[in-house]
C-alpha cells in the first residue's frame, strides 16, 4: 500500500445558520495513509491557515470514538464508508490515491448547521432532559447487589446504553428521525429493574419531546443501524414502540 496519497476534497463551507453554504474544493497532497480522517483535516486546515483562509470548522474532542462529538457525511455516508466507526477512527488507508471525497455536515431540520461541518445537537440533550433518567437523588440508595439483574438483560441494556449521541442515525435517516437515539435510552432503562418505576412516563415524555424538536418518524429503512458507530440495533426501536403503545393505552 502507498504510504501517502493525494486527494481532492469537496467541503461544505457555511458561515452560519442564516447564510447559505456551498462546496469549496481543496487539494490534499501527500496524505499519510496512517493518519485518521480528522488528522487529514488538521493538515488541510494548517495549509488553509498558512494561506490566510479560515480553517474548516468541525466538532471533535476525544478522537478515540467515544465522546460522540465528531461526525460528518463523507461521500454520502454518516461517519464515512466503514461500518461501526466514528469519523475520528476512520483512517486514510481506506481511501485510494486521487480519490475525490465529498464532506458535508449532518443535514436535518432539528440539527441546524452552526458553521461548516458543525451542527447544533442540543435537541438530544432536551430529549434526555425530558425523561432519559432514573429519578433517584444522590444518597440513600440501596446496596448495589440488593437487586440481582440477569446477565442477559444487563448485557442487552449495555448494548443500548453504548450510544454516544453523535446523531449519525439522524443524518442517515431519510426522515431525519431520532428513533434510534431515543429508543436506545428508553431500552437501556426499560431493560433494568431500576427503570421500571417511571417506564411509562419516560417513554411518553421522550417521544413527545422528540416530535416537538422536529425529528421525523421511522419508516423501517434501517439506515440508522447501518450508520451507528456502536452498532445499536433497530430492535430497540421496536422495543420503544411497544413501550409507547403500552404506555399510551393503559
Amino acid at each position: 500500500m502507498k504510504e501517502t496519497i493525494n486527494l481532492t476534497l469537496k467541503v461544505w463551507r457555511q458561515k452560519n445558520q442564516y447564510t447559505p453554504g456551498k462546496f469549496e474544493v481543496y487539494e490534499a497532497k501527500n496524505v499519510d495513509t496512517h493518519a485518521s480522517f480528522l488528522e487529514m483535516l488538521d493538515v488541510v486546515n494548517d495549509d488553509l491557515t498558512q494561506k490566510g483562509i479560515e480553517p474548516i470548522a468541525f466538532d471533535h474532542d476525544c478522537r478515540e470514538g467515544i465522546c460522540g462529538a465528531c461526525g460528518a457525511v463523507i461521500n454520502g455516508k454518516a461517519h464515512g464508508p466503514l461500518s461501526r466507526t466514528t469519523l475520528c477512527q476512520l483512517h486514510m488507508r481506506f481511501f485510494k490515491d486521487n480519490d475525490t471525497i465529498v464532506i458535508e455536515p449532518y443535514r436535518a431540520k432539528a440539527l441546524p448547521v452552526i458553521k461548516d461541518l458543525v451542527v447544533n445537537r442540543t435537541a438530544f440533550d432536551r430529549i434526555i432532559s425530558s425523561g432519559g433518567f432514573v429519578s433517584v437523588k444522590t444518597g440513600g440508595t440501596p446496596d448495589a447487589n440488593a437487586i440481582p439483574i440477569s446477565k442477559e438483560n444487563s448485557d442487552l441494556a449495555m448494548d443500548a446504553a453504548q450510544c454516544i449521541g453523535c446523531a449519525a442515525c439522524v443524518a442517515a435517516c431519510p426522515n431525519a428521525a431520532a428513533m434510534l437515539f431515543v429508543s436506545a435510552k428508553v431500552s437501556h432503562l426499560a431493560l433494568l429493574p431500576q427503570g421500571q418505576v417511571e417506564a411509562k412516563r419516560r417513554v411518553k415524555n421522550m417521544v413527545h419531546q422528540m416530535d416537538k424538536e422536529g425529528f421525523g418518524n421511522c419508516s423501517n429503512e434501517y439506515l440508522c443501524e447501518a450508520a451507528c458507530p456502536k452498532g445499536i440495533s433497530v430492535a430497540n426501536i421496536a422495543r420503544m414502540n411497544r413501550q409507547f403503545m403500552g404506555a399510551s393505552i393503559s
Partner: protein, 641 residues
Amino acid sequence: MADSKRLQSNIPSGPIAEKWTQHKFNLKLVNPANKRKFHVIVVGTGLAGASAAASLSELGYQVSAFCFQDSPRRAHSIAAQGGINSAKNYPNDGDSVYRLFYDTVKGGDFRAREANVYRLAEVSTNIIDQCVAQGVPFAREYGGLLDNRSFGGAQVSRTFYARGQTGQQLLLGAYSALMKEVGRGGVTLYTRHEMLELVLVDGQARGIVTRNMLTGKIESFAADAVILATGGYSNVYFLSTNAMGCNVTATWRAHKKGAFFANPCFTQIHPTCIPVHGSYQSKLTLMSESLRNDGRVWVPKNKGDKRPPAAIPEDERDYYLERKYPSFGNLVPRDLASRNAKIVCDEGRGVGNTGLAVYLDFADSIKRLGAKKIEERYGNLFEMYERITGDDPYKDPMMMYPAVHYTMGGLWVDYNLMSTIPGLHVLGEANFSDHGANRLGASALMQGLADGYFVIPYTIGHYLASNVIPKVDTSHPAFKEAEDQVNQRIRKLLSINGKRTVDDFHKELGLLMWDKCGMARNEQGLKEALKRIPEIRQEFYENVSVTGTEGDFNQTLEKAGRVADFLEFAELLVTDALHREESCGGHFREESQTPEGEAQRKDDEFSYVAAWEHKGVGQAPELHKEALEFETVSLSQRSYK
C-alpha cells in the same frame, strides 16, 4: 517542617476512620428553605462537575453549569475505559476501606494526604450504590450480581466495570442526573461556553467570565460560590491521551487570581498506549490498564532483534515486568510499568518501526481461556486497536508505549475541597488532593464521583453558612474589569497576524516538555526547558497566526487562548519538577534513584505538598509547603517485587 500560614488544610482531628463522620457533624448546615437563595456556579460537566451540579441542585441550591463542549455528555471522563475502584469486598478476597486507603497512599508514593484518601476509600462504596440506582449497566455474573476485576497496584479484585466503557457509563449516569435537574429547573445549563476568567469580589470567588463559543459574546455570571471541575493539564505535552479540548485555562486563570497550584510536576504517564507514528499525529490513544490482567508485556532479550514476534522463541523473550516484580508481575503500578518500558527501549530492545514500543501479548491467555472469553473481556479495545493500527491483536501482540495520561497535580484544596481563594472549590482531576505522586488505575473515576456526589454537597453548605457573602451581581466593577481583561487578550491574539499556526507552537512546547520533563527528568534538562519556554512564548506573541474574528464561532481563537495559557503554565510545571530533587511516583529525577534504578524518595526533605503562588508571568512563583503527616501508614520504600 512548618506549614505555610496560607495553607490551612483543615484536616479534622481524631482517628482516621472517624474523621469524615465527625467532620460532617461539625460542618454547618444551610436549612432547606435557605438553600434556594444561594447560587453556585459549576464549571465543567465531567464526572466531578456533573455529579456536583446534579447533587447540589437536588439539595435545593440554584446551580449554573458550564461546559465548552456542545453537550455535557462529551466531557473527557467519557473516555475512561477500565473501571472504578470500590471497597465493596464483594469477591470476599480481603478488601476493606482500610486496604483501599492503604493501597492508594502507597500507590501515590506517600505524597497524598492521608485524611483525604481515607475519605475517598470510605465513600467509594456509596458510589457504586448510587450508580447502580441510576441504571449504570455494570458487568454482572450469571447469578445477577456485580462482577469485579483487578487493576494495577492492588492484589484484590475491587474494580467495577462496564465492558471497556466504564467512564462512558458513569458519565452518562451523572449526565442523566444533571439533565433531570435541568428539566426540573434546578440547573441552568450553558454549553459551548468557555470560562476565561474568575471574578473575585472582596477576596471571595463570586463569578466567572465566559466566552459564548457560538457568538463570541463575552458574558459575566455572578454567584455565591464557584466550583471548578475542569480536569487536568496533560495537553501541555501536546500529545497525550486527553481529548483535544482538555486544557488548563480555567485552573490557570484561577491560579493567576490567587489560587495556589499544587504539585504540578506530578504527571502520570500511562504505560499502555498506541505508539506515536507520525508528525501529523494529533493525539495518543490509551488502551486500558485492564489489558494487563491477561496480556503479558515483553521485548526481545537481544538488542536490535527485528524478527516478527512469532519468530522469537520463548527463551529469547524478556517478560521484564514478571522478571523484575514477581509478586505483581504485569500489574505493577503505572509509573513502574512506564519507566520500565522506557528502560528497555533505551537499551535498544524496543520493537516496531521506531523502536519505541513493547509487546503486550495475549497469545497465552487466548490459549488458556479461548478467544471468545478474551473477546468478551476486551473486544471493544481489540477492535479499537485494529481500527487505528490495522493489526489484529488476536493474531499478533499489540505494540504499546507510554503516553501522558493524567495529572495528579492541580489547584491546592483543603479538606473541604476549597482552594486558597475563599469560595472557590475544586473537584476531580482539577485538584491535587488524593493521588499523591501517582494515581492507581480505576481511581480517577472514583475520585471524580466521590468529590461531586459525596463531599462537596456537605462542604459547600458549610462555606455558605459560615461566611458573610454580600449580595453581588454582574454590575459590580470587578466583572467589568475581568471582561476587559478577556477582551484585551482576545484582541491581542487576533492582532498578531504572524506566520506560524497555533498547533505548531503547541507541538513545539509539547515536544520540549516530553523530552525534558517527561518520563525521566534531570536538572540540566529542566533548566534548559526553563530557558526555552519563555522564548517560545515570546515568539508565540510575535508570530502566531489566528484567523477569523472575535464575534464568531472560531475554533482557532479558542485553541490559541488555551495554548497561550499552556505556555505560561509549562514554566510552573518545570519549576516544580526542578525544585523537587527526589523521585516519587510519576516524577522520576534521574539524580535520585536506588542502586537498582527504582525511584528514591527523600522523605526528610520532600514530604510535603508544594503549593505555588503566582507572582506574575515570567516571575518566579513563591513556594508554600504543606507538610504531609503520616499518622496511620508508615512511610516505606514502595516495593512491588
